[in-house]
Symmetry: C2
Amino acid sequence: MELGLLYSGGKDSTLAALLLEEFYDVTLVTAHFGISDDWKHAHETAETVGFPFDRLECDPDVAHEAVDLIREDGFPRNGIQLVHEHALERLAAREFDAIADGTRRDDRVPTVSRAQAQSLEDRHDIDYIAPLSGFGRSAVDRLVETRLDVTAGPSEEIDRADYEAELRALIAAEEAPEAIAEYFPDHDQTSVTNVR
Amino acid sequence: MELGLLYSGGKDSTLAALLLEEFYDVTLVTAHFGISDDWKHAHETAETVGFPFDRLECDPDVAHEAVDLIREDGFPRNGIQLVHEHALERLAAREFDAIADGTRRDDRVPTVSRAQAQSLEDRHDIDYIAPLSGFGRSAVDRLVETRLDVTAGPSEEIDRADYEAELRALIAAEEAPEAIAEYFPDHDQTSVTNVR
């Protein structure tokens, strides 16, 4: 069965790929808005970890809407949720038997409720799978430690391709690079460099 | 890492074992109350699918409490939930790094909330994992179809070892065999006969 997994190059989505590869033909798919070339980082990581890769072109209007939300809210949560839902809809419209993402049990954002999952499945006649949603933060950390080599650091210094990179670029363009820190408080991101 | 998985011999807990074996040293653990020998069916299935097996002795008082609940309610949901929580507590007290069960996204019972999972983890210093909680019914059915051979039929005709078997035996003893059908409306169970 062909499965498309929303992929950032980070530890969660890479671990999700390892969990699913036993059961599905997994393609790593990175959503992008055509705003920056950050998707290329995910492509490189996908080659390193040994999975087929594809891009998922998303609607730039949604990125702008997300940035408006983030600036209005003063925090990124709702904007990131909006983008994630849009990316899942686009992915579900592709020719896969199943789609998946790297959301974990303890994630606050993005989240996909049981009702949203069922709706995606019914409307697109696919399975939606969240392979890490039964794993807590500490279980994920332990698995990452045993199976992946990662670099970690502040979001702006890590080469990966989650939605944040392009949303940050938009905010920098619309306001100023300094504005980014205001909306995205410090948090570490990871980029996978090797699978053991 | 050593992981103990609550095991019935059915398709869900067998699939959970296959998902986890890439990352953990999985032992299949069947809870029983010493009321019947139904745990032996799970032992046979564990040997067929090729995993180490262990028994988990549970408190017969909890089985009696569950049966009282089921007879009072007229349906098995709360009684089964009570037994599942008790079994998880007992399993968490064992010497495993992680424990798991076969609960799925679309299951109504048993369920383990995020708060219950966190509480188990904090109190016992283990990881609790629900590897199928990110899989819906249709995704599970498709995986079962590709990987497992199963026999399916009404609960009373299938040799497996979930909590129902012993609770049914208690009800038959306390009332009459005919009473079982009143509390457990028809539903099909599965027993795994082979892994492909």
